[in-house]
């Protein structure tokens, strides 16, 4: 009775059922991550929109924006809100990542409550393509509230939190930990709708840093004085 060959597989019965060894098929609309190796590991094959996605960073500036680059570029038809980034964002660098400066909004909040309020307002209005929210301390009920607010719309919502908060519970259906590695990022799957994966996934990130400048002579020359140059050097 238990396992007759005629019984339909649970994953065919209902979209929200899956086996523990499989990845869930997500009902939510997903935005492609742009990294095929990562997309294969995520339920739904991309970043889900309208949910809270927890990214746990070892420290800011380890390649998290390069990881999100394809998704942000796809969402850049609407505004992208940076809420409480760790340092002032550089518009030119973001433009190089594919987000035009006209679509960027940088919100600074004095108090934690203001930041949470602002995040909720942005999510509820649903008129922004993506919200990136950096915070260090946030309580479980605030996270749940933000997760609910995210479900009102189709905004991509990433929360960037320190690695230490991996210990705390979170209502986010997708939680990834990011650590720098040589030439890319080590992505750990703290929580996902799918099988447990202990080994981190190494994702090579092309550094957007090209060796485009010629080598500069190391010693510093004294500034050229007038008529001090030899004529053959001028040509």
């Amino acid at each position: 009775m238990a396992c007759s060959p005629h019984t339909a597989a649970p994953e065919d019965l209902h979209p929200s059922l899956w086996r523990a060894s499989q990845l869930a098929h997500s009902n939510a609309r997903c935005v492609d991550t742009g990294h095929p190796t990562l997309s294969r590991q995520l339920p739904g094959g991309g970043w889900p929109t309208g949910t809270l996605i927890d990214l746990l960073l070892q420290q800011p500036g380890i390649g998290e924006m390069r990881l999100l680059r394809p998704a942000l570029a796809a969402a850049a038809s609407r505004r992208i809100v940076l809420l409480q980034p760790p340092h002032p964002p550089q518009a030119l660098a973001l433009a190089a990542l594919g987000v035009p400066p006209s679509q960027l909004i940088w919100l600074r909040a004095g108090r934690g409550a203001d930041a949470l309020w602002a995040a909720e307002q942005v999510l509820r209005s649903g008129s922004c393509g993506a919200l990136l929210f950096w915070t260090n301390h946030v309580r479980g009920e605030s996270l749940r509230r933000l997760h609910l607010a995210a479900q009102c719309g189709e905004t991509l919502f990433f929360m960037m939190r320190p690695l230490a908060s991996a210990q705390d519970s979170s209502p986010a259906p997708l939680r990834l930990s990011l650590r720098p590695a040589a030439g890319g990022l080590d992505i750990g799957f703290v929580k996902r709708r799918g099988p447990q994966r202990d080994a981190p996934l190494f994702l090579p990130l092309t550094p957007s840093l090209l060796q485009r400048h010629a080598t500069v002579d190391r010693p510093v020359f004294a500034p050229a004085s007038a008529r001090g140059l030899q004529p053959e050097l001028v040509n």
């Binding site: 002032p88 964002p89 030119l92 919100l107």
Partner: protein
Amino acid sequence: MPQLALEVFSPNWSTDAGCVVLEQERVLAASPLARAAGVQIGMRRGGVLMLMPEARIVERSLEREAEALHAVAMALLQYTPQVAQAEESTLLIDIGASLRLFGGIRALCRRVRASLRALGFSGYLSCAPTARGAWLLARKRAGRVLRIASLTRRLDRMPSALLPPARAYAAWFEGIGCFDLGAMQRLPRPGLQRRCGRALLDMLDAAYGMSPELFEWIEAPTVFHAKIELFDRIENAEECLQGAQRLVQQLTGWLCAHQLAVERITLLLEHERGKVARPATKVEIALAEPTWRDEHLIRLLKERLAQVVLEAPVIGLALDAPQLQPMAPLNESLFPEPGGSEEDRVRMLELLIARLGPDNVLQALPQADYRPEVANTWVPVQQKVRESVRCAQMPADVHSLPRPTWILAKPIALLMRNHRPFYGSPLKMASTPERIEAGWWSQTQTRDYFIAEGQDHTLYWVYRERIVGASEDANPRWFLHGLFG
């Protein structure tokens, strides 16, 4: 509005302090707290004081009631341009033409009721095909009637003393056994007119829809100014919001009546005049886009009032609309966009600005400058920036320019260990340098920027300060300036 005499002194959002209204030394109305203490209609002042010594006893003020009625009429102008005052603190509104716009009679009644509540009054709402019929139903609290046949049936059962001109003859009507309007309708008309006058007959005909009715519709004044006096001294700015809501309701009605939209509103919080006269605190709200709806104004006021610190208790509120524009209704698209409209976004930004402050909601405005700090300029979102200007400032090779995502507000001087810069771990240069030498006109920068890699493979943007003219073996000074996100 049966409670008007009371509610002009204690609106339903204020805390009940046992308010009792007297008319000719008799209790006319009493608040729930006073009634719970045993105060009844018709009592004398002494009786009230005995039952409830702390009661706030006020004399009925017809002037205030008229003002309040006018305020309500003003707010109701948002539902229809035709609002008229009737006897016994009643307002008549003609909603025949508004039903479709507001989504049917039930939805409209709900909204009118909500407006009344926001104004601080409680009222009873009735609808009928004739205005006098609706008036009678409202006086008797008899609900809604939509067809003339059912109205006739309902009116037939109304007590005859409900019509004001019939009250003087109530005993006579009772004597001849004419208890309800149906019986009155069946009395011979010439006799009724001779005994009771023409007014009764006219009113009866109007109620049954047999003669047309004429009203003096209320006209909205040409300039908007509304104020209310608060009856308690309010010490917390957030508590003013209830009063402000009432003013905003009036403003909405006035704007709809004049087909205007507001660009700027000023809320004045008037303080108690003690020994020194204090100027009123001014809360000014400028809108990026003119609006005539109350929800957005109230949300903005709420955030702004939360920030106001009161130096003295507030005793009055006044609202002005100094900057107006003709109303431009929205273009509704047939297939709404999933991401919300442009207006939604503007509204969200205004709300964020109201709470976080204009300097904390920023947009990028890159400058054409080699110095990274200068190039990375952010300006308040309110500042209007033309797209072409922004594009003109962008470098042509933006996609191959090595710039870090996060730029430190202030470069950090790095320690040196073994002739290498050190930040958490020794840094290894991972790129060829990029020389930036600019700003001789203000702040000269002579720097060689490198991309450095720490031992944990994090990439940093560091620079070496070049001191022109320094000897070759001078210790180079290294700074951390950015992080590659």
